[in-house]
């Protein structure tokens, strides 16, 4: 069964550094998303991406965040100038159609020290 994959599974970085989280969405999906989940809290939407453009983003997705689809398979989330409060689990998701079921990857646990 096709699934969303994410790398790395864990990432530790120093405050102020840049991180890139990588995702490979399900191959025939066209819509891609990033969510985050701070430990013990709800899953929060960050951004949706379609046709090489951001279609929606939340207040969390400030100008330190960016997304990119550098090739036909990868979808990345870059966080510049990381802050302690960026520590969370970051989930990538994809869907075949807009507004349809989103399938999640296993997540990357980011720890900012």
């Amino acid at each position: 069964e096709p699934e969303v994959t994410q790398t790395p599974s864990h990432q530790v970085t120093q405050m102020g550094q840049e991180v890139i989280l990588r995702c490979v969405p399900i191959s025939n999906h066209l819509y891609f998303y990033w969510y985050r989940q701070i430990l013990g809290q709800k899953v929060e939407f960050l951004v949706s991406f379609y046709n090489n453009e951001i279609s929606e983003k939340s207040e969390i997705f400030d100008d330190r965040f960016s997304v990119e689809r550098p090739d036909g398979s990868n979808f990345t989330l870059k966080i510049r100038s990381t802050k302690l409060e960026d520590s969370a689990m970051y989930f990538c998701a994809s869907s075949a159609l807009a507004g349809e079921t989103q399938y999640f990857g296993p997540g990357t646990r980011l720890l900012v020290l």
């Binding site: 807009a98 999640f104 997540g107």
Partner: protein
């Protein structure tokens, strides 16, 4: 932001019993709902979905009920098994592609 909340943060059931997990949503215009299961250290896993033009949808051992009058969603798991132990989230969509998640209910199945 939107409010999607769960009535009970924890639920314990005996193996073999049926489980009912509840969710309240705040926006009557939400048109699509999904129940996700999240096991420790893993991403949310799709369980079942329902659109706002339906009241009930059944899957394998799971049933979702939607009561639009009171803006309530429930997930029923039949013959609960130890492997069902996880946190269950409801998520609602109000137009667009953005889903709003509840805080989750932790289901523990007692063997």
């Amino acid at each position: 932001g939107e409010s999607v909340g769960l009535h009970l943060p924890t639920l314990s059931v005996q193996e073999g019993d049926n489980s009912i997990i509840n969710c309240a949503y705040s926006n009557s215009a939400s048109d699509y709902f999904i129940w996700y299961k999240q096991e420790s250290g893993k991403g949310p896993q799709f369980i079942i979905d329902i659109r706002s033009n339906m009241d009930k949808r059944q899957g394998q051992r799971v049933t979702v009920l939607l009561n639009k009058t009171v803006k309530h969603l429930s997930l029923q798991i039949a013959a609960t098994q130890p492997g069902d132990s996880a946190v269950y989230f409801c998520a609602e969509k109000l137009g667009g592609n953005q889903f709003y998640f509840g805080t989750g209910t932790s289901l523990t199945v007692i063997p």
